[in-house]
């Protein structure tokens, strides 16, 4: 996983050169290259492998999903949103630069993600990723970002936070399926599409991704109440301080852990029909998401 993350980091570095106007490119690079576990791109590469492709086929999609992830962090951290000063152990984008630069850096990364995905020069020259797959991948990525995906999750999250009282389990699941799982789903599905998966395979991998997407958030909620800011590299205990509803608050810590175990099991079941050698990285990633410490 570390090896794959290193390849992804190189690709991200190349995808956003320090062009003019410099300040906006600096801001994009600051947020895009400033650490991060690269879970989404690594998922994308792993799903492509399961589908029969190889890393070079999925790299444009891997870069795109990480750009979208970074963009959503930059915009979510804005003063008018979650108002977070710390991200990945450093000042968030609007603190390191300024607010307009942060809004625009997010916009530029969002646009650039689609550009990378649709750039013929970023794919293997042998035509192993035909244009109809690229078009399908663009459509999937769009859905996962827009008002049916990340944006819907953030809207529901802001509404819930404003209410002051705990939201229902259904509502919490809606928030996380959109705010977190949607992009993990897109990462896996895009990898599967460019790798040449069948419709049936895509749908099974989609289910795997939704399980680990929800799992990712449950674990995030658990870490927020059990770890320090220093250990996490971001403000810990923030959910509690902001009266935000989390799985530990609704279910208690023990039941949250059981819920996480169930999701991990469900995610692994979706992989049973594939070649076990090829699914090893996706199984490992599910375990990583379940047992990570930050």
């Amino acid at each position: 996983m570390l090896q794959k993350a290193a390849i992804v980091n190189r690709a991200l570095d190349e995808a956003v050169p320090l062009d003019r106007p410099e300040r906006i490119h600096e801001a994009m690079r600051y947020s895009l290259l400033g650490g991060g576990k690269r879970v989404r791109p690594v998922l994308c590469l792993a799903a492509c492998e399961v589908a029969g492709g190889w890393d070079a086929c999925a790299m444009p999609a891997a870069v795109a999903v990480e750009m979208i992830h970074t963009m959503s962090l930059i915009h979510d951290d804005l003063p008018c949103m979650d108002d977070d000063d710390l991200r990945r152990g450093r000042p968030s984008c609007h603190r390191a630069f300024d607010e307009p630069t942060a809004v625009l850096a997010g916009d530029a990364l969002l646009a650039l993600a689609f550009g990378r995905l649709a750039d013929p020069a970023s794919y293997p020259a042998d035509g192993s990723v035909p244009p109809d797959r690229v078009v399908r991948a663009v459509g999937e990525l769009s859905r996962c970002v827009g008002a049916e995906g990340l944006v819907a999750g953030q809207v529901a999250d802001l509404e819930a936070t404003g209410l002051g009282n705990p939201v229902s389990l259904d509502k919490l699941e809606f928030i996380h399926l959109h705010k977190t799982a949607a992009l993990l789903e897109a990462s896996v599905v895009l990898g599967a599409i460019v790798g040449g998966a069948s419709d049936d395979q895509i749908e099974r991998l989609r289910k795997y991704a939704r399980c680990i997407g929800l799992l990712f958030q449950v674990v995030d909620d658990i870490l927020d109440v059990t770890k320090s800011s220093e250990e996490l590299g971001k403000t810990a205990g923030k959910d509690l301080a902001s009266d935000k509803t989390t799985y530990p608050k609704l279910l208690g810590l023990e039941k949250s852990r059981e819920f996480a175990e169930g999701l991990l099991k469900d995610s692994k079941e979706q992989l049973s029909g594939f070649d076990p050698i090829k699914t090893a990285p996706l199984l490992h990633l599910a375990n990583y998401i379940a047992y990570r410490q930050k």
Copy 2:
């Protein structure tokens, strides 16, 4: 042009239904459907016709460029950017709703633009727009939005406004070529691509678009100093009040009008090699942009 704008309005209306979460879709619809001259989509349809296509081939691209335009207006109006309360004669998005909703509505429209462009269901079923054209169109749209396009223009504009003293003519042209002309260029080029234009035709139409893009801004600057807020449907005299550099300020009103005439002539020259019946709408649009009163 009014007839084409009406078709575009119907397509825009259908492209953003009032889904859940309702508030974000309301905000997207408020800004997308709240007037606007639909210059970009009409340009897109007209360029497609010149290239040998018809309206149905270019409608997804036409919808996409108007979504991008709306998104850029929503984000540019934000308090941390141009801080504008009035847009198209009504409260701007963050005034009618709130700031986080405006940021997210912009993000959602940006993502949705690419989604519409890449949705096979939005094209004629006869395959007259093959996927490789769609991929190329996605790449063009991405470039025009990102840190080489709209975003670069807005960054340079914010920097110039902060300086307090007039910027050079070169810098002013950089701002407008990116902030305004880039999306008009994308509108024309996308229409040409989906309509099946040759590379040579695309480049001539691109030059036409860059001329009318700059023309659009010169005329905008002239209107800002010669018309009232009521006539424009947005705050007039704002450029003067904010010490913003404009063509009339740098060149004077008379020379600005001469510059506009020159751009109009240059734009028309690019159309000379095409079928004159098919270029009539593009010629008309150039005249419209030059002689509009708001």
